[in-house]
Symmetry: C2
Subunit: 195 residues, 2 copies
Amino acid sequence: MAVGRPRSFCKDQALDRALEVFWRKGFEGASICDLTEAMGINPPSLYSAFGNKEQLFRQALDRYAEVYAKRRREILAAPSAREAMEGLLRDAARSLTDKSRPVGCLYVQAIAGASEHAACIREMLKSKREDSEREIRDRLRRARAEGELPKEADPAALARYITTVAQGMSVQAAGGATRKELDRVVDLALGAWPA
Amino acid sequence: MAVGRPRSFCKDQALDRALEVFWRKGFEGASICDLTEAMGINPPSLYSAFGNKEQLFRQALDRYAEVYAKRRREILAAPSAREAMEGLLRDAARSLTDKSRPVGCLYVQAIAGASEHAACIREMLKSKREDSEREIRDRLRRARAEGELPKEADPAALARYITTVAQGMSVQAAGGATRKELDRVVDLALGAWPA
DNA sequence: CAAATAACGTAGTGAACGCTACATAAGTGC
DNA sequence: GCACTTATGTAGCGTTCACTACGTTATTTG
């Protein structure tokens, strides 16, 4: 065991609590006081375990991304791209309105005040949104190569379209849209599908 | 003329400057110092002319909404609903990426940290987004009544879909998407149209 | 020219922010 | 047991926040 006084809280659990606060209030909207209270620790413990507020956010974001990316990959593994895209949007309609968690997508909601002072936070979020769009694009490229999509289909544009709809759904969810309403949006969004 | 020392700045122009700051930085991200600097006045002048930060934001938002609603109504007056919807999204692709103004839509971008402390700001923005969605819905209801849209079309869902795409486009624009890229999204989004 | 009125610039206010110094407590290694 | 290491709680650091008290200046009214 490591030398010195042992940590009296579970780091993973504390990070989950911090994630929830950032998700609900955004980066700048979440104060250290909000965070320490939710995490059940005092400021020095937070700083010694996670560095500072920005580094804590980055770790919480990575944790969120890990969970989110895992589910995305499972859905993208569907036999057809059409099913994969519908799966992504249906899952978004469900998870964005899940009452047991903050509404909306962290990637969109956390863009808090986002003054120049938080520019690197915006960059982190943008990078995560791009990761997601890239994976969708790759799946669509494969579908075109396999003949599911016509040769003239544009995987990059289609991926951007799906991503755009999902991001819009996050704004809608934050504004109070229900899962049923978002599912109707998904119906219409998929009506545009080339196949 | 009113008695007393006359105001040494143009209130409308100062409000425009404040709007630009809020648009770029969000409500909480815009400090009074940022605002007074951009407006070319000192804090006491701001408070005496506009009340406080929240009231200033409300007035700036109303000004933005006025301009935005006027253009929306012009576009919705197009002969067909199909043309109106395409017009809305094409105009969004253009204005969201207009380099002479902050990127994105104020209704989406200004949702600053949005802690409970700024709840009424969120409500203001949500209300404006709903105004827009309602007008689109009304136009689509008319189109259905006039026979342009089939009887089984759902104007409320279609309006929500168009709004969702536009809001997603705002997130995309804030992340650096170009007008051309957004126009490709519009192409795909309109492929879903019932007619 | 007063008196009244209202905006002005200076220079702050108290509160909340992110963050940390410091003494103490709780473990390990010898 | 004793030195060493690391986490903890208290208490407070300097900075920035939204906002304002106050004396001054510019204008209208009579």
